[in-house]
Amino acid sequence: MTAAAPAAKSNVNILGLTKADYKAAPSTLCAGCGHNSIADKVIDATFELGLKQHEVIKLSGIGCSSKSPAYFLGRSHGINTLHGRMPSVATGALMANHQLYGVGVSGDGDTGSIGFGQFKHMVRRNVRMVYIVENNGVYGLTKGQFSATADVGQELKHAGRNELPPLDLCLEAIIADCGFVARSFAGDPKHVTALIKAAFNFPGTAVLDIISPCVTFNDKDDSTKSYAWGKSHDERVNDFTFVMQQDEITVEYEEGETKAVELHDGSQIMLRKLDGKHDPTNRAAAITLLDEAREKQQFITGLIYLNPARASLATAANLIDSPLAWLPESRTRPSRESLDKIVASLK
């Protein structure tokens, strides 16, 4: 999971910017909240990738998690939408300007409950963006109700016992034909950073389901969304290196255990199995892996499924290269003659 980019080692990135340039307002989340470390990792990843902030838009729904975009990339346009409705806004924004990178942050309530339909349909449309779910199994901002990713039998102070099975957002994403599906843990900053970097280069929707403990309402050790659980149960299924187009491949892997997947513009993801089994380019295997893990309440992490083959929505829509939003009148208003012709045809 090492990032092969040399930029990560120095104080300024290829744009000559420091990491501080990628920061934004200070967080108002609880001290220790998993969401804070994820926001930091977005900063690290975009800094290391050397992204131009004005080429990125950051989006979210409503929730503690959805406040995160205020805490990174202060020079990017951001939009805090409605509870559960970030996917539709992202779809519109990234069609209006398909040259932009999109990074969305959502919560498990935001994505799994009210926004579930939008989430699934956005994934199905393959809108090119990084979609991060800061998954804490609970509604943080409204103070501790169960979300749809809470485990059966879990107990919360006010909400009592949860009787319903959890949604597995990775499984849901794969079933909806997502080509980049990963699970990680906010307590593992390196893994999170590496995933975000790869996700930014994926030519479609990249879903990152990141377990992100809510220290205020759901951090008891027996909760599968707690720091303690995450640290002791994390089973990494694979390791990977994201290789930017301009980089040389420096990491060496043993034969048979490594697989290179080429993304667009020549960047690559080098995958290495850790459990000796899982092939993340095999959809059926990914589904089985997740389903079994869910059954056994295993906390598997890694790049679970990777397939850059599907066209993104903008590609399928056959858009011109320039952003639609920036087109001058001359390219969006057909000629007077063309109207005359239509009018004549209706006479």
Partner: protein, 609 residues
Amino acid sequence: MALSEVAGSQQTERDPVVNNFSIMVATKNGSGSQTANTALLRALFKMGIPVTGKNLFPSNIQGLPTWYTIRLSADGFAARRPRSEIVIAMNPATAIEDYAGVEPGGAFLYADDIKMPMDRTDIAHYAIPAKAISIKHEKDPKLRGYVANMVYVGALAHLLGLQLEELESALMYHFKGKRKPVDLNMAVIRASAEHAAANYKKHDPFTVERMNKTDGMLMIDGNTAAALGAIYGGFTFCAWYPITPATSMPEALISFSPGLRTEADGKRTYAIVQAEDELAALGMVIGAGWAGARSVTSTSGPGISLMAEFAGYGYFAEIPAVIWDVQRMGPSTGLPTRVSQGDVLKTYFLGHGDSRHICLIPCDPYECFEFGWKSFDVAERFQTPVFVLSDLDIGMNQWMSKPFDYPDLPQDRGKVLGAEALDRLGGFARYKDVDGDGIPYRTLPGTPHPLAAYFTRGTGHTEKATLSERPADWTGNLDRIRAKFETARAELPQPIVSLADGAEVGLIAYGSAHPAIEEALSRLEQTGLKASYLRVRALPLAESIKDFVAAHKRVYVVEMNDDAQMLQLLRLHLSGVEGDKLRAANLCDGLPLTARWITETILSKEASQ
């Protein structure tokens, strides 16, 4: 279903009636009568006779009763009439009621397999050998129903003295010059016309004659006009979800855009996304508007309800968007294939909390085209969702229209700051009222400048767009948005007023009520009642409406809804002053208004004055 209103008139001997009557065809849904009806309509239109075609159809795909009405009006009146002089009954299920509904003195054409007592002596009767002729001309029994429709076209043509060549050109137009289907259909029409010539004795006074009242005019439905307007307005993004009667607007975008908006390399200058529902559709449109696209969606009542939260968001976060509400009859699913003006109040106030929205209200396809492009200018200028309130009658029926005028103004992209401006200004405050008109400046994502970015949110914020819960920030922001709204009030399309000299009575109406009002005004004048007329074209209501009310003693607000919704908005607009001058003249039965109803309603209210 009885389409008729209670008729007052008795049968009398009548002179020939030329180019001034209505034809109603009663068929079943999905029976393919559309080709027949549009060919008839077009033939008449190309003869220079002002016509309108209205389809009254059920919320169903096949087999239920449908009525298509063609009104011919030498005077150019386009409103629905309560009854038709000529009724063509092809559907046994409704034949008895269709029969009863023929205007006294009229004519009844019926498929000859319809058996029922036909004992009216005040109308003419003609049996159409629909089955016999269609069996002869079509071997495939599945297609015979379709062919049967051409039989009534032939019979009618004979009775009206409509030249078959006119029908042939109309069919050529319909089939885009393909000879084969034209010949097939013409063969049936000819056979039927010949049968009519041989068997009918004309007992009715209705005929058609060439005139020149449609020169330069076109025929179109409002949804297609709206789509063309959007294309010439430079729409770049559309998201939508199917719903009657709004569907044909985006479908027209889908069919016209490739030809008009594809670049040399075969790529498109627009994107159209079919969303998973209306909530997502408006979400996408808002997202695209935020990113700088000219962004539009089209829906009807249920979709408007689902859009409530996003509408409030767009209003508060100040994001341009255009939403067509092609109104149908509500509340709830209501009558999905019937017209109403029932969303006026709801759309104006859409969304929780304090908010109100700019609405444009076209009255015909011509204005649909105009507001189709103008709505983007309004949305981008005022940075807010703009609703265009059309309706099923305008949107889906065939209207005669002046040719559309090419936009006479360049696109108004609103107050957008680019990189150079930011350099010059050294920054900007997203929600600051710099110019005193309430309209702030925005930047678009992608602007290559370190000071361009800001954070958009639905929560309270400062002028700099940072989160704030301070009372003064909140009220200051709402005050500015209200100021912006007042700026809009003066700049939106103003009412069209025609003042009748010395009139005590004024009528206020809007949207598809317009043709019925025009006709009613002329009828009222015949009865000696002079009335002025103001047609509302936008919300918030123009200041000048107050003058109109002040200038009259009694003002009737004519509209098609149950709650007298525009009247309510007018009452609020007048702030309690002269509010008692306003009187409701509203009807909410799912049918387009008729001049007769308006005339009678106003006369009876005036009588009890």
